[in-house]
Symmetry: C2
Subunit: 175 residues, 2 copies
Amino acid sequence: MKYNEKTLEVETIYEGRMINLNVHKVMLPNNNTAYREIVVHPGAVAILPIDKDGRILFVKQFRKAVEEELLEIPAGKIEPGEDPEKCALRELEEETGFLASQLLFMNKIYTSPGFSNEVIYIYLAKDLITGKRNLDDDEFIDLYKLDLAEALNLIKLGKIKDAKTITAILLLQNF
Amino acid sequence: MKYNEKTLEVETIYEGRMINLNVHKVMLPNNNTAYREIVVHPGAVAILPIDKDGRILFVKQFRKAVEEELLEIPAGKIEPGEDPEKCALRELEEETGFLASQLLFMNKIYTSPGFSNEVIYIYLAKDLITGKRNLDDDEFIDLYKLDLAEALNLIKLGKIKDAKTITAILLLQNF
């Protein structure tokens, strides 16, 4: 690694339900100091589920941070110590009511490395089997099915706006 | 909009250099209450610059949040009141030393809508002209050039990990 920023001090600003916020005083490569605001996130999974007719399952939910309902692929936070694959199967079933016989790793992305360590493991889920839907108390989610061409068109039109969802759909073209 | 979460109270946790953190107490669609942790971000631009030989310009920099050097396309925060296009041309020149005669809007993405309002406007920059590189005091950035096939391979290998960068490269295939 050519450049690095060594932490000199950490100030804990907030320890919350989903995220923590720390401010690191760091030493820059030129020996000056700077401050880095870092949102600590537990990591997440996102699952691109494809049914036997080749259609992709989406969830639509209100996202308070952006004050909009967004069309996304199913996703969720990784629990402490949880394996990302198990988390993917759990979240897929909880949000859509489907289990997957085949789960294929697609990619791992940093969503906002300028201010957060959030990482999302993206999986392709195939051979879906009916399981049991089980939403969290604060989750209100509708299901939609689109084929790949429709999904690509919604990206082009700016109707699918979520980075993990766009990444997963575009990756599917090359998968 | 079918579902909504009305804010009942906002607690300001932190007002920082790049981000603010608020916690909203909200009313859920079933009239129960919940808390939403929201990282407020000013928004950003990312620019996919292509030179006359069809190669893409990348920047490599240390990202404290993930404790890694990342290969990304040039990007930067939008200043208050700044037009995203102007911001894109400014950030491109500051980080790479190039101006673009052609700037084409590619997409607008929410990077982490589960906890942040960060939006990134992605542009394609063509017909590059030599300008003046001008890094911020705390920026240490190296430049790299890759053709599209190399970039796609680095995504596949997990060597390009940044969501906005992956999105921009994959969008280029369909652009």
